[in-house]
């Protein structure tokens, strides 16, 4: 996670119309943004497209990004808007089912995708988006609740309760989808 001074450095570069700010944002935020978008969209492929759109928007709205009070929540809110727009578009194209698959990768020690992988993906997909995002950021991006709170512009306690409620639903959901 980039420190506050690194965020300020990015914003200063954006304000100075210095495009190296984009590379800095990529370096510090691309993995977390991609994970967050994958949690919203339930599709790795769509998350990649959405990430591209997020960076294009950052370029176009660089002045607003530069003047944002806090860079972190601004970027994640921007990503959320892009993700939700893409969901709407996919819904219209009746493409949602096809897109929402195979978004989790396997660890190296696990040889192949099995029924449990599909169950987990399906159960995560059924969870409310806000709970799913916190769970994904916590598990797959190793974020603390404080960091998740900073990213999503919510309190640490809210992040923790979203996580607990989400996890409580996950097990029954996995049994249901099996």
């Amino acid at each position: 996670m980039p420190s506050e001074s690194e965020d300020l450095e990015i914003q200063a570069r954006l304000l100075a119309v210095d495009s190296s700010a984009l590379d800095m944002i990529w370096k510090h935020y691309s993995s977390d943004l991609l994970g967050y978008l994958a949690s919203i969209l339930g599709s790795h492929h769509d998350a990649e497209d959405a990430l591209q759109e997020v960076f294009v928007r950052i370029s176009k709205k660089r002045e607003s990004v530069a003047k944002a009070r806090l860079l972190k929540p601004y970027l994640f809110r921007l990503a959320r808007n892009v993700g939700l727009n893409l969901i709407k578009k996919n819904r219209r194209a009746q493409d949602r089912e096809r897109a929402a698959s195979d978004w989790l990768d396997l660890n190296e020690e696990v040889k192949r995708r099995d029924e449990r992988t599909h169950q987990l993906e399906a159960a995560l997909r059924v969870l409310p988006e806000k709970q799913r995002s916190v769970i994904v950021l916590k598990f797959y991006r190793d974020k603390t609740f404080r960091e998740i709170g900073e990213m999503l512009g919510i309190s640490e306690n809210t992040a923790a309760s979203r996580y607990r409620y989400g996890m409580a639903k996950l097990e029954p959901l996995m049994q249901e989808v099996s």
Binding site: S31, F55, L120, Y140, Y165, M174
Partner: protein, 143 residues
């Protein structure tokens, strides 16, 4: 919340079998290229034009408002033309009626003049009915 540590452990185990793929170098190249392109296309020109758009929008709104008002005026004139006031004939006074020298009418006028206003109206109505009746009788006879 009916959530136990055992479940927590089970879910964690399940989730730990998986990971989220990090952004690939291809994706990095694609995303940064399009972002830099967007950066260049919205460069200095857009900064200079930031004031131009609201001014253009205001001008367009004004032009549209003027067109709408002119159209409304035109439509108003056109639709009211048939309702323009016409020059009416002079009102018929009781003296004019007397000058027509119709005995029945003269009697009616004289009677109406001598009565209070409310009775006069009733009187006139009654006589009008009588005149209509006699006229229709006359017409029937002529035929």
């Amino acid at each position: 919340m009916d959530y136990s540590n055992e479940q927590d452990h089970h879910d964690s185990m399940e989730m730990n079998r998986h990971r989220l793929a990090p952004p690939s170098p291809d994706l990095q190249e694609r995303v940064l290229r399009s972002a830099h392109e967007a950066w260049t296309s919205t460069d200095v020109a857009s900064a200079e034009f930031s004031w131009g758009f609201p001014v253009l929008r205001l001008a367009a709104s004004l032009a549209l408002a003027m067109i709408l008002i002119s159209f409304a005026n035109y439509a108003d004139k056109r639709s009211l033309a048939q309702w323009q006031p016409v020059v009416h004939a002079d009102a018929v006074t009781s003296n004019t009626l007397i000058s027509w020298n119709r005995p029945g009418l003269n009697r009616l006028i004289a009677a109406a003049a001598s009565l209070p206003e409310r009775n006069a109206a009733q009187h006139i109505r009654r006589h009008t009915r009588e005149i209509r009746k006699s006229l229709s009788t006359t017409e029937g006879r002529n035929e």
